[in-house]
């Protein structure tokens, strides 16, 4: 018998995602395709991750030129690369020990980059002060979030620690909470109202903690994942007031702030908090997260993210700092990606024109995608989609016929997993089932990425509608 039969109960308690089943099937299907097995499709369209590059979106030229120059400084000799690329690479390397991106950086990130990130935050928030000492660059925003959760979730307390999270919610976060021994306390977003966050629902969720756990934090995702809603200022103020009144630490996951498609504008929790003035602005404890993985850059693989801490107890911050110390330092290329994200080429810079063209192209593509996706889905029987105001995904609802639900039960699967599996087998599309994110009982959804080249989305929607129509017929 294995020495490791007994493992951490926290790890055991982490939900096994439905997605893992789909991932295994995909691997098999891809292998079959490689072997020449005939299928109704030539390749699998994988839209299960919020990963623009995987979907076919091109990296930004300026970003990749700077990275290349930092990696191999010989490229800065001569005029091959635009002068602003060379200058930026020079500046970045000047901040690296030994003039190499291969050395460790200070805990929390290269100081010059942290400084520039803080200036970005301040500019974004209309001048609200941002202190570099409160900013930690990290190996992706999820890593930073897990570290902060680590401090919040007290596994030794008599009461388990609860964290209020939206339903639906990005599954990695709920897994992190479970993995630390915390309790996920869902508050349901209102689908009929465009996935709106309603304060009454926050109250209900909090009530449900009584006798079960001690709630310490409230986690919000804005713009949302998987549901692509953008929160209104009014709603954010309500959330802040609620957090203050109920003494909850606010965790604001804002990684999709660069992905906004509709009329609503993104405003950060930090800014709203600041504008609400004292006492709230001086007391509500907030951690906000951002990343280079989303937006136009889409540099998920570089692992660049950061957390900004607001109104934290200085004594607690010292411990947080030590915690980050034990992680050594975040990957330098990821840090550079953050620098480029927060300080892109400006009008007048040699690289500006191309940068503008590339980002505009991505923006207009995604706006088109969002429109088309919603149109197509809403035109199909048994399929409906709320407006995608921001984020990386569409999260339509599938109104599954009773027969399909029955079939799924017999197969020992969640109904939306069953749907996704069929979608994969018959149409070669890998999307993820709503069960992995949390949804109102009796409702079913799928999530798929819309940060794709327009023609890929077109292909995806074609396959999806053909499949869906057939599926509905088969199970009517």
């Amino acid at each position: 018998m294995s020495v490791l039969q007994e493992i951490s109960s926290n790890v055991k308690n982490m939900k096994t995602l439905e997605y893992s089943l789909l991932a295994r099937w995909t691997k098999q299907i891809k292998e079959d395709l490689r072997q020449g097995v005939k299928k109704p499709f030539k390749e699998v369209i994988d839209v299960s991750w919020g990963d623009p590059h995987r979907g076919g979106v091109k990296p930004l030229t300026f970003v990749r030129q700077v990275l290349a120059a930092c990696l191999y400084p010989q490229l800065m000799n001569g005029e091959k690369l635009p002068v602003d690329v060379r200058q930026r690479a020079q500046k970045l390397l000047d901040g690296c020990a030994g003039w190499s991106v291969g050395s460790y950086s200070a805990t929390g990130g290269l100081p010059e980059i942290v400084q520039r990130v803080s200036e970005f935050i301040s500019r974004r928030d209309g001048g609200v002060q941002s202190n570099p000492e409160n900013i930690f660059l990290c190996c992706g925003s999820q890593w930073a979030l897990t570290r902060i959760l680590n401090v919040l979730v007290n596994a030794e307390a008599p009461y388990p620690t609860g964290v209020l999270t939206p339903a639906p919610c990005y599954s990695t976060t709920t897994l992190s909470i479970e993995g630390l021994g915390g309790v996920v306390v869902p508050y349901y977003l209102s689908e009929e109202r465009g996935w709106e966050l309603q304060v009454e629902e926050l109250h209900r969720a909090l009530e449900s903690c009584k006798g079960a756990c001690h709630p310490i934090a409230l986690y919000v995702i804005n713009p949302g994942n998987p549901a692509g809603q953008v929160q209104s200022r009014k709603s954010m103020q309500e959330v802040i007031r609620f957090a203050s009144e109920k003494r909850l630490f606010l965790l604001a996951d804002e990684v999709y702030q660069g992905c906004i498609y509709g009329e609503k504008e993104f405003v950060s929790y930090k800014r709203v908090l600041s504008e609400m003035g004292p006492p709230l602005s001086d007391t509500v404890e907030l951690a906000s997260f951002h990343s280079a993985s989303k937006g136009f850059m889409g540099e998920c693989g570089l692992r660049g993210g950061y957390v900004e801490l607001v109104n934290l107890d200085p004594a607690v911050k010292k411990y947080i700092y030590t915690l980050f110390c034990a992680d050594s330092s975040p990957p330098v290329l990821g840090q550079i990606a953050l620098d480029l994200m927060t300080n892109p080429p400006q009008p007048g810079d040699p690289s500006y024109l191309l940068y503008y063209q590339e980002t505009q192209h991505i923006r207009s593509t995604v706006v088109k995608n969002v429109k088309k996706a919603c149109e197509v889905i809403n035109s199909l029987q048994g399929f409906s989609c709320q407006a995608v105001e921001g984020g990386a995904f569409a999260f339509p609802r599938i109104h599954l016929p009773a027969k399909a639900i029955q079939k799924a039960k017999e197969a020992g699967m969640q109904p939306d997993t069953f749907y996704c599996l069929r979608l994969l087998e018959e149409a070669g599309v890998l999307a993820s089932p709503g069960s992995d994110y949390g949804q109102e009982e009796g409702t079913f959804h799928i999530r798929f990425c819309i940060l794709l080249p327009h023609d890929v989305l077109g292909e995806l929607l074609q396959r999806l509608s053909d499949f869906h129509t057939q599926f509905m017929k088969d199970f009517s």
């Binding site: 030129q65 290349a68 460790y104 897994l175 411990y319 110390c325």
Partner: protein, 515 residues
């Protein structure tokens, strides 16, 4: 609340292990009865986080950074620069990256360069191969949690070559964010149990403080086994046994960690020792964690790196089919020194399939390791071959780096051993010296009065007087009543010589001052 939950509460309440059990957070009341005070305080935060220390980036380094700032602002100091000999960061100390690696990575970042004639064909081919295995042909796409499949395959082939043909299954390879990620993940997996059944993990004293930090954070029991300083930091099985027997009284020992070549001590374990450790782990049913990040950093004559995996398999099926082992490697050390990439892998042997599934879940939470680090690892395990355009240059760069390190290891040992009151074991491998220092009674007394460890007191003084930043031995663990410091051998040879002389002078002054 169901019965199960209430039972859980009772168990937690009765847990005798934690001295920092906390109830509901205290509400601080102000005069008018309104509750004030922070939501997250040092009283209600996760208590295990408060126990985390990491000396390599600890208070002495923070002071060093302060001094650097003061120097740059024109403040007068008894030294012209601060030298950070505290951290195993080769590039920071002037070591050059391997050209081939950087060329391929640049090509991967900006594939337009594939048409540029300044890059050799073999670098271009590698870049194409790596890009083909990335989603959307971009290093910016997420990879699978376990790491890019073709990279894992290459790692498996490397391990097979390194270990004289012992088979390696790519499914047992997990790419990680530096070796630290793998180590911490394994510890997270196996730490469980309450009270006297709480998981215990054996770690060498002295050790690399990532281990003690992780164990503290996880609330695991740290079981210390002492390396033998008199015998060149060798590992005695009798000491392992002693530590284990004692630990069994208050915890459930589950794993044994060993760092080979050692950090901070630099010893390279003999093959016999490795066999003995394997037998011990088998007999006592311990999960073996072999930290082998310094596997190319072996300098002393008569010393050789033997991988735990190889030795395990050469011991025959009685061991190779039963002992559970995880071995770790990284792109941060050896001749690459690419710390900033956070590249690493772990190989897991004989792990239960069900446990592997749990491991996969745990790894998914951090999404995937940085893709450039994965690409770099691919190059490390699959460097230029004889006949390829980049081969000559690669070999000469690698040789130059490793022989420079060997020379500096020897130099360090030599110079430090000329100092009265400093005794330095041979630096057989890795990147550090860990000499023992004699600290006069008077100094110990003053340190204690200041609430400082004597070797911290010593190192702080050295920093203030010479600008040299070292890490005190207390940050790594040491036998009671002994004092050490860890100093890297990384600065360029001439600078290292100056450093060593300054250390010598400081030690003599210090000893004089406190005599």
């Amino acid at each position: 609340m169901n019965h199960g939950t209430s039972l859980l509460w009772k168990q937690r309440a009765l847990s005798s292990l934690s001295a920092t059990r906390r109830g509901l957070p205290k509400e601080k009341m102000s005069e008018n009865g309104m509750s004030r005070g922070k939501v997250l305080t040092i009283d209600n935060m996760n208590p295990t986080v408060k126990k985390v220390e990491y000396a390599v980036r600890g208070p002495i380094v923070q002071r060093a950074v302060e001094l650097e700032r003061e120097l740059s602002e024109g403040m007068k100091k008894p030294f012209a620069e601060v030298i950070k000999a505290n951290i195993g960061d080769a590039h920071a100390m002037g070591q050059q990256p391997i050209t081939f690696f950087r060329q391929v990575l640049a090509l991967c970042s900006y594939p337009e360069l594939l048409s540029d004639s300044i890059f050799p064909e073999d670098a271009k081919n590698r870049a194409r191969r790596i890009l083909n295995s990335c989603g959307g042909n971009s290093m910016g796409a997420y990879s699978a949690s376990q790491g890019i499949e073709s990279v894992r395959q290459d790692v498996a082939l490397y391990i097979e070559r390194r270990d004289g043909g012992v088979p390696c299954d790519p499914d047992n390879i997990y790419l990680t964010t530096g070796a630290s990620d793998g180590i911490v993940t394994m510890l997270k997996l196996l730490v469980c149990g309450e009270g006297a059944a709480r998981a215990g993990v054996m770690i060498s004293i002295p050790q690399y403080p990532l281990y003690s930090a992780a164990l503290a954070e996880l609330g695991a029991v740290q079981i210390n086994y002492y390396l033998n300083e008199e015998k060149c930091w060798s590992l005695d099985i009798s000491e392992l046994q002693r530590a284990l027997n004692e630990a069994r009284r208050y915890c459930n020992p589950r794993a044994l960690c060993i760092i080979n070549p050692g950090n901070p001590t630099g010893q390279v374990q003999s093959r016999q020792c490795i066999e003995d450790v394997i037998r011990f782990a088998a007999r006592e049913r311990l999960f073996l964690m072999a930290d082998e990040v310094y596997q190319d950093n072996v300098y002393a004559e008569g010393c050789q790196f033997h991988s735990f995996k190889k030795v395990l398999f050469e011991m025959g099926p009685e061991y190779s089919e039963t002992v559970e082992l995880a071995s770790f490697h990284s792109t941060s050390k050896c001749y690459m020194g690419e710390c900033g990439f956070r590249g690493g892998y772990m190989e897991i042997i004989n792990m239960d399939e069900e446990v592997k599934a749990q491991l996969t879940k745990l790894l998914s939470v951090r999404l995937c390791p940085p893709v450039p680090g994965q690409a770099l690892m691919d190059l490390v395990v699959n460097p230029p071959q004889p006949g390829e355009p980049s081969y000559e240059r690669f070999i000469s760069e690698r040789t130059a780096t490793l022989s420079a390190l060997a020379e500096k290891a020897k130099l360090t040992e030599q110079v430090l051993n000329t100092v009265d009151g400093i005794r330095c074991n041979p630096v057989q491998g890795a990147m550090y010296s860990f000499p023992r220092i004699a600290i006069p009674e008077k100094a110990i007394k003053e340190a204690t009065e200041n609430g400082q460890q004597p070797d911290m007191f010593y190192c702080m003084k050295m920093l203030e007087e010479t600008g040299i930043c070292l890490v005190p031995g207390s940050g790594f663990g040491q036998k009671d009543g002994t004092y050490h410091f860890r100093m890297t051998i990384l600065p360029p040879r001439d600078k290292l010589k100056i450093l060593l002389n300054k250390v010598q002078e400081f030690h003599q002054r210090f000893t004089q001052q406190y005599s």
